[in-house]
């Protein structure tokens, strides 16, 4: 057996899970999909004294619409469920486009949205998507609940705003609206590997084709998902063009992101990847935005 011994609990209600966590906050680890935690335990990189398995909390598995323009997703909803969900396709197409990039279908069958966000791997896709869409998280402990906006949630590598006694119960995203275009692109050495570089692009145009807002968020470009507002500021109020996209991509790739070299890629190469992916993502997002105002 590879993992170190631990005590196992599988509460069937959120209240019971929160009680267990409150009583064992510094010894216990929450088990969601387990697709990052269990490998880490197999390597004994982590040796929690107790696992609180959230997989019996069926109540945290849902996708629903609130106030017509907000999508709420239960924290234990599987990535594969989201990938197949028509509501997500219609209201959060950026997320739909991104999900197939997460590992492989066998992993997405277990991996959950809440688990991926709580894990806060800088190379993961869903944290970047949450930040790109400016969603928020509903966190609960035994006493209270609170909402945290995406950008305030991610604090560093594998580090979030979650207190030791808190559980993510829900994640909320604003729906796409008319004039919005989106694109997600990443580059990995093999299909399903962690991406060397990835970018989510959102671009909103008005009926005249003028860019009203734009957003670029990078994964693996720093400790947390990196928002390139310095670069996207160049687009606002302008009629986008290929030359402008090149300028934006250059600023984002050379002045905003802070990728770290690894054995597969040097920093200049990662910046080059960011530049190429950004240019392409902006072009795709722009054409989708234009198509949405034309219809």
């Amino acid at each position: 057996m590879k993992p170190a011994p631990f005590k196992y609990t599988s509460p069937s209600t959120i209240t019971a899970a929160l009680d267990l966590l409150a009583e064992n906050a510094y010894d216990a680890k929450l088990l969601a999909g387990g697709q990052s935690l269990i490998p880490a335990m197999n390597f004994r990189l982590t040796q929690p004294a107790m696992l609180i398995d959230l997989n019996r909390l069926d109540k945290l598995d849902y996708v629903r619409v609130a106030n017509n323009n907000t999508v709420q997703i239960g924290a234990m909803t599987r990535q594969r469920t989201l990938e197949r969900n028509q509501l997500i396709r219609d209201m959060l197409p950026l997320m739909s486009e991104t999900l197939p990039f997460i590992a492989h279908s066998q992993i997405r069958n277990r991996g959950t949205i809440g688990g991926s966000l709580a894990h806060a791997d800088p190379a993961a896709e869903l944290p970047a998507i949450l930040v790109a869409l400016q969603g928020r998280l509903r966190l609960r402990n035994r006493m209270r609940e609170r909402w945290v906006p995406a950008e305030a949630f991610f604090k560093g590598i594998f580090t979030t705003d979650l207190a030791p006694d808190e559980i993510i119960v829900e994640v909320e995203f604003p729906s796409i609206s008319k004039g919005d275009g989106w694109s997600f692109l990443e580059f990995s050495r093999r299909k399903g590997d962690y991406a060397l570089m990835g970018v989510a692009a959102l671009l909103t145009v008005d009926s005249q084709g003028v860019c009203r807002s734009a957003r670029l968020v990078y994964l693996n470009s720093g400790e947390v998902p990196t928002v390139a507002s310095l670069a996207t500021g160049l687009l606002e109020g302008e009629k986008p063009s290929g030359i402008l996209f090149e300028a934006v991509a250059r600023v984002a790739a050379s002045d905003v992101i802070a990728p770290t070299a690894n054995i597969h890629a040097s920093v200049p190469y990662l910046r080059h990847l960011a530049y190429s992916l950004t240019k392409r993502a902006l072009e795709v997002a722009h054409s989708r935005a234009l198509a949405s105002v034309e219809t």
Binding site: M1, K2, P3, A4, P5, F6, K7, Y8, S10, G34, Q35, I38, P39, M41, N42, F43, L51, D53, N55, R80, A103, H104, S105, Q106, I107, N109, R110, K191, G192
Partner: protein, 170 residues
């Protein structure tokens, strides 16, 4: 030490009741406690795909689940594919037949994982394109075949399974 838990799991239609330590991986449980050694263990970190089994019909890595999590669940392993009755060898599944026919394996270590990933895939996509097949097997590593013969086998299986369904209906 952690205490044992009693679990009841259904594997290939048969119910098993066992006591397990929480840290026992589902892959090791299948192999060492149930002697179902068709499920192979490669990397034990979710990368290679050789331990893929079906959990409630969906392919998952059995090395990234604890046996205790399978309590009350239905599993299918590669042993559940052919229609043998436990005493004598039965007919292979059309997917297995096609792997045999099209040289979809050499050493065979990765094959159970491929089969278990592909079974639900072909149910969902009875006539896939070659590109879709490559996407479907992207989570399984094979070091012998170069994948081409595996893709050939899946295309052959898809064709055979459609022909078989057609002939059963008529």
């Amino acid at each position: 030490m952690s205490e044992d838990h009693q679990i009841i799991v259904t594997v290939n239609g048969q119910k098993y009741q066992r006591h397990v330590e929480p840290r026992l991986l589902l892959s090791d449980f299948l192999r060492h406690h149930l002697s179902l050694t068709g499920t192979h263990v490669g990397c034990e970190q979710g990368v290679c795909g050789s331990c893929t089994i079906l959990l409630e019909g969906e392919p998952v890595r059995s090395c990234l689940l604890f046996a205790v999590q399978a309590d009350g669940r239905n599993l299918t392993t590669v042993e559940g594919l052919s229609d043998h009755n436990g005493t004598e060898a039965g007919r292979m599944h059309p997917l297995q037949e096609a792997f045999w026919e099209a040289h979809g394996l050499q050493c065979g270590f990765c094959t159970p994982g491929f089969l278990m990933s592909l079974l639900p895939f072909l149910e969902e996509n009875p006539s896939p394109s070659e590109q879709e097949v490559r996407e479907a097997i992207s989570g399984n590593l094979c070091r012998c075949t170069g994948y081409q013969h595996i893709v050939d086998a899946v295309m052959l299986a898809a064709g055979n399974m459609i022909a078989k369904d057609g002939s059963e209906e008529s």
